[in-house]
């Protein structure tokens, strides 16, 4: 089985539009300054579709869906 998928945000690119939290409230909430806080767990299969949608709608192209990375990539 392949490694699970997780959401990551490029914090430099993110400018706090907040769309992702509207599209995927199960995994993303906004902090008090409007920036996304991502759930630390992998994206469950049932939410993969919504997660892909949130990624493609991000105006800053800051949200990513990727495999949980290996060791030196952190």
């Amino acid at each position: 089985m392949s490694r699970p998928m997780e959401l990551r945000v490029d914090p430099v690119a993110c400018s706090g539009h907040g769309l992702c939290a509207q599209l995927l409230p199960e995994l993303i909430v906004l902090d008090e300054w409007g920036y996304p806080v991502l759930a630390s767990r992998p994206v469950p299969g049932s939410l993969l579709g919504e997660a892909r949608r949130a990624v493609s709608f991000c105006p800053a192209l800051a949200l990513r869906l990727q495999r949980v990375p290996g060791d030196l990539q952190r």
Binding site: P11, V12, R64, Q73
Partner: protein, 473 residues
């Protein structure tokens, strides 16, 4: 051959933001806005028994170094030294304590991997000695480069061979005296035919984050020294998109010794989990003392615990430990991390009883907030708020809700930046809330128990805070 003399070990910044001791003394004594410019702290090098890098007689000149150690023992091919470094258990001495052999292996592997590249572009690795030392309290790399520069330069060549590098760079804090002197050392080495790789010098802006790896890679790719967020680490895509090995200057000096004396020798000092020695900068009164200690050395042997209320271990991304607890701890991450601190890059300070831990924390946090690159929302928003709340408390002004704000904001910034600046700042602030809990309670009621308002920890003046990208070049 005569060249410039070894640079004086006082200060580091000679730009417009440097101050004479008299100017520094004339600064306002508000506990939070007062600055104690690092450039005003005299540096004293104190070789210790069992030292390996800082020996009682410096080998600053090449002939002394060669008489003592001989030429760098090259292995003849990439990869051969990596296993020995792994057996030695050497970890990075720049603060993160990452296993060095894993970096070596990753960069060498990335250099071998074929990739479609523009015609003429190189994929061969770059090796960088990182001596930018952005931490205001740290002077160990500066001291090492003055005391034993050829260990660092040997290490740079040996690490370069280990990863198959074709480019070598020495990344330095902007100090003309040190730069000029190192240039002379490099010229002597070239004359002696020691170095397969020609070393170029690059200067770092006087910013806390300038020595952060991705900021360094950006700066050495002709960009600003700003941390970058990237899917791939710089070990794969760093300076000019090439696989890049960045090792702290001290780490390279250890590499030079392990290459000569072997892993078992290296392990005769330190602990089984954290072998070897490390350089420390102990902030003592108005002096920075650079010394060398085996990992696992009791803290009480390094800092003056008498009349201390708390010990700062690991610098401004490290943590405060109450003196009573610190007396039983050791210089190792195994001992310090459970206490909320770290060995970091070896900056240690014992806060005297007569100073205010809240004010010191507020002052340093204000500096750290100003040193945010301002690129990531949580850091850009959170750090100034944390700093502002701490300044209110430090004044001291009665405020009972702000402590809860500080705790919440510390949680909100953590793990959400392109670099670890917000994490380190949150760790530092949290440790203060624990170590100075009683004093914080007093401050919430508008009182302060400290008789002295003199600033203790060195913090550069806020005028140096970055405003544009130009400030990072």
């Amino acid at each position: 051959m005569t060249g410039p003399a070894a640079p004086p070990l006082t200060g580091r910044i000679t730009g417009p933001d440097s101050m004479t001791p008299r100017q520094a003394a004339a600064q306002p004594r508000d506990p939070v806005t007062a600055t104690l410019h690092p450039a005003t702290l005299p540096v004293r090098v104190m070789p210790a028994a069992g030292g390996r890098l800082l020996l009682p007689v410096p080998a600053a000149a090449l002939r002394d170094h060669l008489a003592r150690f001989g030429p760098p023992p090259f292995r003849g091919a990439p990869g051969r030294l990596t296993g020995e470094i792994g057996e030695a258990g050497l970890t990075g001495r720049g603060g993160a304590a990452f296993p060095v052999h894993r970096k070596l292996a990753a960069v060498a592997r990335a250099g071998r991997r074929p990739r479609a590249i523009a015609a003429g572009a190189s994929r061969a690795p770059v090796v960088v000695a990182n001596a930018a030392e952005g931490e205001p309290g740290s002077r160990k790399d500066l001291a090492l480069l003055a005391h034993a520069p050829h260990l660092v330069l040997d290490g740079l060549q040996l690490a370069g061979e280990a990863v198959g590098a074709t480019t070598a760079i020495l990344y330095l804090a902007r100090e003309p005296a040190t730069g000029e002197w190192l240039r002379a050392q490099l010229a002597e080495r070239a004359f002696a035919g020691l170095d397969p790789l020609q070393v170029s010098l690059a200067s770092a802006p006087a910013r806390f984050l300038a020595s952060q790896e991705s900021a360094l890679a950006s700066r050495l790719s002709a960009g600003p020294a700003l941390p970058r967020y990237a899917a791939r680490g710089i070990y794969e895509r760093g300076v000019d998109e090439r696989p890049t090995l960045v090792l702290n200057a001290e780490t390279l000096a250890h590499v030079a010794l392990i290459a000569r004396f072997g892993p078992s020798w290296f392990r005769t000092a330190g602990t089984a989990a954290e072998p070897g020695t490390m350089l420390c900068t102990v902030l003592h009164g108005r002096t920075a003392v650079v010394t060398e200690a085996a990992l696992g050395t009791p803290l009480r042997d390094l800092v003056n615990m008498r009349e201390a209320q708390a010990v700062l271990a690991g610098g401004y991304h490290g943590g405060w430990i109450p003196a009573r607890a610190a007396a039983g701890l050791r210089l190792s991450n195994a001992s310090l991390r459970p206490a909320g601190a770290s060995a970091g890059a070896g900056v240690l300070a014992a806060l005297p009883e007569d100073r205010c831990g809240v004010a010191e924390t507020a002052r340093v946090t204000r500096y750290l907030a100003a040193e945010s690159a301002g690129q990531c929302g949580p850091c850009l928003n959170g750090l100034p708020r944390i700093a502002g709340a701490l300044a209110t408390l430090a004044a001291p002004r009665a405020a009972d809700h702000v402590l809860a704000d500080v705790i919440r904001w510390a949680g909100l910034v953590e793990g959400r930046g392109a670099c670890h600046h917000p994490d380190g700042t949150a760790r530092f602030v949290r440790s203060a809330l624990r170590a100075f809990a009683a004093e914080f309670r007093l401050h919430q009621h508008g009182r302060c128990s400290a008789p002295s308002r003199e600033p203790f920890l060195p913090v550069p003046p806020p005028a140096a805070a970055p405003a544009t990208e130009q400030d990072w070049i």
